[in-house]
């Protein structure tokens, strides 16, 4: 913020090697990065928001279809994945904490790697679920087949939403895991210290956001069937 800017502009200060030339201080740089990440998450909310909007309209139009179509999703697998993702948020929080404390590289890497493993388990389960939908002809399009002919047409809307929402979510996880791998590599080289850990912190925000999306997707996609 400009107040800090003012305080630092008057006197010279030591330059941390991580300080980019256009910032006056590491605090300003960290603030810009953190704020920037939150602004980015705002765009993500609205990015998913377009699909959620479509979900809302069709859930209002076809409540019965949603009950029937969602009954083909596995609640146990969905619950398991929810638990895995919440667990990965915990390990991510610990990874950020380790970097903030300037913990030994080994500890930082363990938490980052643990987050990746949990992410991989989530995606693995997702692949199993997708395979199941493919073998049961539940992918929208000419090969779509729904056992109740009354929903043959409209159930495709549910599955379009299902694949788009979970696919977009999964692609965010894949991107996140690539970044986690890079961060783990950097952490192993001891780049993150109590003084400078910005990448781990803003990656944490991203990962928690991905968790956040799933917290809504789970009840909205999986937990409709119980009502009948």
């Amino acid at each position: 913020m400009s107040e800090v800017h003012a305080a630092l502009a008057d006197h010279g200060h030591e330059h941390h090697p991580r300080l980019q030339h256009h910032f006056d201080s590491l605090e300003q740089q960290l603030y810009a990065s953190t704020f920037g990440m939150w602004v980015f998450l705002v765009t993500e909310v609205l990015f998913f928001g377009g699909l959620f909007m479509a979900y809302i309209v069709y859930r209002i139009w076809y409540p019965d279809m949603f009950v029937h179509a969602s009954s083909h999703l596995s609640v146990p697998l969905g619950t398991f994945n929810t638990a895995v993702l919440i667990g990965s948020s915990l390990t991510m929080a610990y990874a950020v904490n380790a970097a903030q404390r300037g913990a030994r590289p080994r500890e930082q890497v363990i938490w980052l790697f643990g987050t990746m493993v949990l992410g991989a388990i989530f995606l693995g389960v997702k692949v199993i679920e997708y395979m199941d939908k493919i073998t049961h002809h539940l992918v929208p399009g000419p090969n779509f087949h729904f056992e109740d002919p009354a929903y043959q047409a409209t159930a495709q809307i549910y599955y379009s939403l299902y694949f788009a929402l979970t696919g977009l979510h999964a692609s965010h996880m894949i991107v996140g895991m690539v970044i986690l791998a890079i961060l783990a590599y950097k952490a192993a080289k001891g780049q993150f210290t109590a003084e400078w850990y910005t990448p781990v912190e803003i990656m944490g925000l991203y990962w928690h956001f991905v968790d956040l999306v799933w917290i809504f997707l789970f009840p909205l996609l999986y937990l409709i069937g119980g009502a009948h």
Binding site: S2, H22, G36, V39, V42, T43, F48, G49, A164
Partner: protein, 538 residues
Amino acid sequence: MEASIAKPTNYLNATHGAASWFLTKDHKRIALLYLISVSIFFLMGGVFASLIRLELLTPAGDFVSSETYNKFFTMHGVMMVFFFLIPSIPATLGNFLVPMMIGAKDLAFPRINLLSWYIYLVGGLMAVSAMVMGGVDTGWTFYTPYSTAVSNTHVVMTGVGIFIAGFSSILTGFNFIVTIHTMRAPGMTWMRLPLFIWAHYAASLIMIMGTPVIAVTLLMVVLERVLHFGFFDPTRGGDPVLYQHLFWFYSHPAVYIMVLPGMGVISELIAGFSRKPVFGYSFVAVSSLGIAFVGFLVWGHHMFTSSQSIYAGLIFSFLSYLVAIPSAIKVFNWTATLYKGSISWESPMLYAMGFIGLFTIGGLTGLFLSAIGLDLHLHDGYFVVAHFHYVMVGGTLLAYLGGLHFWWPKITGKLYYEPFAKVSAVIVFVGFNLTFFPQFILGYMGMPRRYHQYPEIDGWQVLNVLSTAGASILALGVILPAFYLTYSWFKGPPAGPNPWGVTGLEWETASPPPTANFEETPIVTRPPYAFTNEDAHV
């Protein structure tokens, strides 16, 4: 050759070679990269506009087939809206000036800034390849179910191109917002920010709030075409009108992405050439945010003739009138600024005057269209075409040209030949009005848009010929600056730090500015546009 004395180092001569440009993190160089690329897209969009006007010269469809004509107006719209108007002012002038006006060394995320240019290029190249491969014929709005189920042109390629370019716009807006919040120089409080900054802040809000929605909407269209998903497919119970809601949630506010930065430019020009602070500074500043916000509440006025419910239509109609309030605040305050000002008529001021007049016509005709009853008659006709060209060409393009002339000496350090600039400003104004005013009349008489032929009645051809003639004049007016501005860059006399004698941090540093913008971080002690009595006699 001319001077062996060491010239002062500036952002242009600090480093050399192609890599120093294509890998630059300097916001000023990135602004120039954008300037060149948006100019190329503007040229392409302009070529399609000329082809459209050529076809409409005669009532018969004798120049191209209706299919080709559909592709012409689609490519014109896609190029102009997504690849020229949206990035035009923010990515060029905004990129150059936002850090300088707030006294920062660069944007908060210089690498992301460069990335946004590359993303823009990739998106643009995809759209151009779609065009080369045969084009797309859906209109720039990509309405479903035509775009998803009927059209056999390159919808996917173009859609993905726009999807990608959307992220460039998001990144620019994101960078501006973070920069304006965190990088202001000491003493640069919010109420001391130039109105250019306020306008860009408001436009950036729309970029980050709206653009993601159109990105995901185009993604849905692509999924529907490629993977046979069924979001908008009526044969599976989907609703094509839902597409229109999602599309206009962005694309209506997008109009304000185009015009708000233009209003920011005009505020600077009016203050600068009246040698007075902008009248009602805080109202003009906040009205930018007002326009951005109200802009999100009115999108349904594009859908009065869709199957949208009449109740929703009434709400959207009522709210659309509200846009007039913040817009009128700006226009009234600009004109009040002129009152008793020490006005001088340099070329940027001519563009600014053109903007005020044409934007006012564009805005007022928008009120006609917000009335549901009137819109039913005017919808999808030439009245609409004329209306939004008055806003986008009469507004954004004139502001863009005016701003480019105003800050050209800062960007290049050279002065252009002022008489040429004045002549071209007049040519643009005359050509523009001759092109688009007849279209109001045509639209009122019922001529629909997007048809390649029209009946020989009521003197429609006369009006169309006038419009085509005007387009040729307009084309001349926008091509001229390309020549004398480029010429001035190489041969123009040096400009000095502040050739116009105006206020603002960007004028307190050298022209062209050094890479870090300022020799030392400026400390701001005065409100913007603090002209003194001596300034009035310049």
